[in-house]
Symmetry: C2
Subunit: 315 residues, 2 copies
Amino acid sequence: MKSTKLSTLLGIEYPIIQGGMVWCSGWKLASAVSNCGGLGVIGSGSMNPELLREHIVKCKKATDKPFAVNIPLIYQHAYDYIPLLLELEVPVVITSAGSPKKFTAQLKEKGVKVGHVVPSAKLAKKCQDAGVDFVVCEGFEAGGHNGLEETTSFCLIPQVARSVSIPFAAAGGIATGAQILASQVLGAQGVQIGTRFACSEESSAHENFKNHIAESCEGNTMLTLKKIVPVRLAKNDFFTQIKSLEEKTQDSYENLSELLGRGRARKGIFEGDLKEGELEYGQISSLVDEVLPVKVIMKQLLEEYEQARIECQQI
Amino acid sequence: MKSTKLSTLLGIEYPIIQGGMVWCSGWKLASAVSNCGGLGVIGSGSMNPELLREHIVKCKKATDKPFAVNIPLIYQHAYDYIPLLLELEVPVVITSAGSPKKFTAQLKEKGVKVGHVVPSAKLAKKCQDAGVDFVVCEGFEAGGHNGLEETTSFCLIPQVARSVSIPFAAAGGIATGAQILASQVLGAQGVQIGTRFACSEESSAHENFKNHIAESCEGNTMLTLKKIVPVRLAKNDFFTQIKSLEEKTQDSYENLSELLGRGRARKGIFEGDLKEGELEYGQISSLVDEVLPVKVIMKQLLEEYEQARIECQQI
């Protein structure tokens, strides 16, 4: 897999970013991906500042390669993170779920590379205008939080390619080497992979959650909660409770917010309660069949990619 | 663009199928696509048997190349069509929205090639088991009627590739040559293109509808009516009326059925009422910028495809 504008920008060997995922991507997963030549990402969404500090320090001990921290700007601690990231000299920061104008200048001034996650070409352009170094465009098929316009990777990638000149990674629905090549054919300079890494040995998710992904079938997830924050979830008991409350309370979301506010993502992903927990993963889970070490996943991705390249030359 | 298992099966030069679309794809569009080396498809959904006969006869006069008729099995006339198609020796029939077991054996017995449109790998496998010659797998981003599981092309194509050995075309979100190559990289042997051909000079849609597609932006469509039959529509006044009725009538769909039963697709697509009509087109409409003759569209698709192949070799 050759270097691209994105891998060169980030100083990594392969243009593969591991998605920052709540309760999955701590220092173990991030450092393992970085050590294999991708960009490991610590997902700060499930961490308080003290815990994030601990993960960054451990990650830096475990790898001398570039890694990133993902910061969803809607979370309460987002503002507290910035001085911490600067103090600990985190080389790459990926912001999401907020304005790309918020912290970009401040971070770039200190030499940090800044990426932002977007669900549309329009927002990708705004990121470029705000001085962001690269964007991650995330399609409707992605797990977890999602855009309002429901644009899929097949439609989103070429539109982002047409709209910006900064490098960008495609995310959403990508779990194989052939899909990395297809993303590049559509104009991306790399990819972000979530679900396949959530299902790695180094992921801090509960064993039950990983096995659940490995066994999941086509049609196992659905975008829901569209009137609050759209999020892609597995269709388990908790999902059914959400749907039922959504139908009952057309205009008031108090009950729903109460249901959601009970640490359900932790319960599902970290504690392994597959019935009552919130299970966030992507539509491509049906192509992820095994829990494997990151080293093996990266090796398979590269092999699948080479195979797809060879086959593409024969098309 | 080289031949594939799909183009060989269908006896066409390029593995490009034009989607059968209500009020868009009559004999003019179908014969134009077939004459350019693709598979033109007459969409029977908006025709009674007499009108369909007229279109088939005219199509046969306008081209000596293979063409197809698409039959949505939920429409009232579906049963009346079969003897007509056999009498007029239509070479390819593509069924959709019903069981692939219904007419496949009867059609194949007379030498007709049979395809079926599917939204999932599971149904693709059922088609193969039912003796269908090829499938068209249609992702969530496609215009018009859509699957319940909302699987996107990026996720659907590799799953269908893994599930069946018969040739298949990818549909949904495909309007450029690079997207044809990406579909092949993901495992498809060809594509079905709807929206870009709906926006051709030969399309029988109203000029207003075609110009509307050419001007449409990212996020212009949304999948709706999920509790009746999911359908992707432009967000116009009619769409807003549907959404409003859906929210009001949680359990009863009488008002909604009445609203839908008023020939709104004809009004929007064929008569060009952009406010009160039902406008069915795909999410990829934002990449379709011009109303062009089929000959130019096909030429551009081939050029874009070649360009993407060259670029792919340099990735």
